[in-house]
Symmetry: none
């Protein structure tokens, strides 16, 4: 599997195409796999000699699961690489995060719950401020608040271009998304944000023949937007960035033979799950409601992805105590999963979010797998310190699904 | 390094071609490397809280070697992948098990000790039963016993096709092997087994131009076989599967500069060793006899592969106590190896075969390396629980040979 990235002449090579192997080897049975993702699970001590959030939290249920299971430290992309939510989750889902890159426009659209269709082109847009000479004076329109920017995004729905269906969706502050739907729209168009002030925005330029029409449509959009916004005090124009088509990801059914469901609260994670062909089930707003949905759908699916956001958001806020509390809240629902008797239970995160850094980080993620045929590693706690001594060792997150399938009895033998 | 596999249009890519590196770096000296392979070495507890076969066995000699050596957990192919004997051994021999796939026909021929030559095409055949309409009523001819099927395979030696030399070899029960030898015989022909009953067998169809002649020869073989077998009550026909040429593997001499010998009891392992250019020496039937052969040949080779089957076969039988006993038997011969003072001693398995699963598995394999210049890791026992804490960490089995060469002083520096 070789693919070329748009930016520069880098040819990324996927060393071993695990998917090609797994497609040949998977078998179906009645097993159930549950993957619990505590977003940003791994952390750091706030000071030397102290404990991490997970080490500080009281997690009797995770510790009991650790005693029955096998743990390890998963590396989302590569050592030292801090992933965003896209690559972090694709890895957990078993998709090589280097091979399968979700374009920024597509990720932004996915994040607000917009269902991209094949052939769509999604564009991240920033409101900006132009001075009297038409040069950019503020690339983010003074970080205009959402309550002011959202109505402007709605106004841009008036843009009309023959032969192209246009969606404009507010996101947050200066950000909004444009999705173009129509025939023959390639996704390879350069950003119009010059990444500088005192200069005019760039024209959208196609990087290949197939994207000429997209660039032309973008130009028309910008011309109409300039007119619509011209009297706005702050946001009198916008830039376009991260043009991207819907990523072409094979589905869980194709690759693993799994009927999969996602039980998530936030649109971004529903969107990521949808991209790999999971059904989005329920309308849960809390972990307890997510457990209700899990129980109700137990007989309808082979695989359940359950997403818990708040271990990440507290970490992003640098709120150590908050993350400890959210971790304990997460621990508390483990018994509700276990009473359903899944064949394989996985607990992990899509990356670390140490409160100390108040951001996503590259640190390996504590990961736990329990099944009747895992090889226990003699550890009876689950945290950053135990996981590096675990039986799964340090491993690339993209292998987690292969391990899940093996432990569920869903993988045949490779070679005779 | 890019190569295409025969089956499907998958393009496998080899990330780092270790062989290309090693070919440039190896040096020769008088060191001796012994690789002891206890087939299916790794295991599992039968119940939570209990010990594995290797942990249960009394292994004073392996434990003493562990105190001097360094251990780790080797991953035969990739996390979660359970290998067959072919990929399992190729990995141990340092051949990327994804890049070098041995076709099923070639492996079956190898397994019965048939020496394939370049250009040969080997085919796994199954006797089957056809009903009066020519449809398959039993794909395995009622699992006809070997004493009935072997004479039928011998009868098929009467098949004669001009310009092609034909070998028919009984295997076991309904299985036998056909090898075609001649000019311009490609190996890419589809199976004739429809994988169903109530339908006729398929015709052999070439997947490319170079295999047209092979398909034609197979058709003629089947026509003559149909006539020869027509009055048999059970096995009145046969199918053909897994057409495969001799795999093209560089030899130990070419890649490592090693003169290598294999001391094995079973034909499969002799065959696998032969494919990488090892000499098959002795006619030992027991471990003790294998040690006699080792001692006698000590001055004639640089590298010795010693294969012990019974840790796998007891595991496959689900016979935990038997595997414990066989492990102890294996442990007992370690002193006989050590008294020859090998420069490097390696103890490993080609995969795990837990009695709990009664099959090959994906679990990492306890692996031990002892030399005067290994870096000891302070462990004085050798099992599934210690190996994950060892100095070799978790590593892909295909790197074991590079480690062996390095510890034998047989690898020069890479770069200045």
């Amino acid at each position: 599997m070789v693919r070329k990235h748009n930016h520069r002449s880098v040819c990324w090579v996927n060393p071993m195409d695990t998917h090609a192997l797994v497609r040949e080897l998977f078998v179906k049975n009645d097993s159930k796999i549950v993957m619990l993702v505590a977003d940003g699970l791994g952390g750091l001590p706030m000071q030397a000699g102290e404990t991490t959030e997970l080490e500080t939290a009281k997690t009797p249920n995770l510790d009991a699961l650790a005693a029955k299971g096998v743990q390890g430290a998963s590396i989302p992309v590569a050592p030292g690489i801090s992933p965003g939510s896209g690559p972090g989750h694709l890895s957990l889902f078993g998709y090589d995060p280097i091979q399968y890159l979700i374009g920024r426009g597509a990720l932004e659209a996915t994040g607000i719950g917009f269902e991209l269709q094949p052939g769509d082109v999604a564009i991240r847009c920033n409101f900006c401020t132009l001075d009297a000479d038409g040069n950019i004076s503020d690339r983010r329109a003074g970080r205009i608040p959402t309550e002011e920017s959202a109505p402007l995004a709605i106004k841009l729905c008036d843009v009309s271009i023959p032969g192209v269906e246009i969606f404009v969706e507010p996101v947050k502050e200066h950000r909004f998304v444009v999705v173009l739907r129509g025939e023959a729209l390639g996704g390879d168009v350069d950003d119009t944000d010059p990444q500088a002030t005192g200069v005019p925005p760039l024209e959208p330029v196609a990087r290949n023949e197939a994207s000429q029409k997209t660039a032309e449509v973008a130009k028309q959009f910008l011309a109409q937007a300039r007119d619509i916004l011209k009297n706005e005090p702050k946001a009198n124009f916008h830039t376009m960035r991260g043009f991207a088509g819907k990523p072409d990801l094979p589905s869980y059914e194709e690759v693993y033979g799994l009927k999969a469901a996602a039980i998530a609260v936030y649109p971004m994670y529903k969107g990521l799950a949808r991209l790999v062909g999971m059904d989005i089930i329920g309308a849960a707003q809390t972990l307890d409601e997510q457990m209700d949905v899990l129980k109700d759908a137990w007989n309808d699916y082979d695989f359940f992805f359950i997403h818990f956001k708040y271990t990440d958001s507290t970490g992003e806020d640098g709120d150590f105590d908050g993350k400890v509390k959210r971790t304990e809240e997460f621990d508390a629902i483990i018994p509700r999963v276990q009473e359903l008797r899944p064949t394989v239970t996985i607990v992990t995160g899509d990356h670390s979010t140490p409160s100390f850094l108040a951001s996503h980080s590259w640190h390996p993620v504590p990961t736990l797998l329990a099944s009747a045929c895992c090889r226990p590693d003699g550890l009876d706690a689950f945290n950053e310190n135990t996981c590096i001594r675990g039986g799964l060792g340090q491993f690339e997150a993209k292998y987690l699904m292969t391990l899940a399938l093996a432990n569920a009895g869903r993988l045949g033998k490779y070679g005779a």
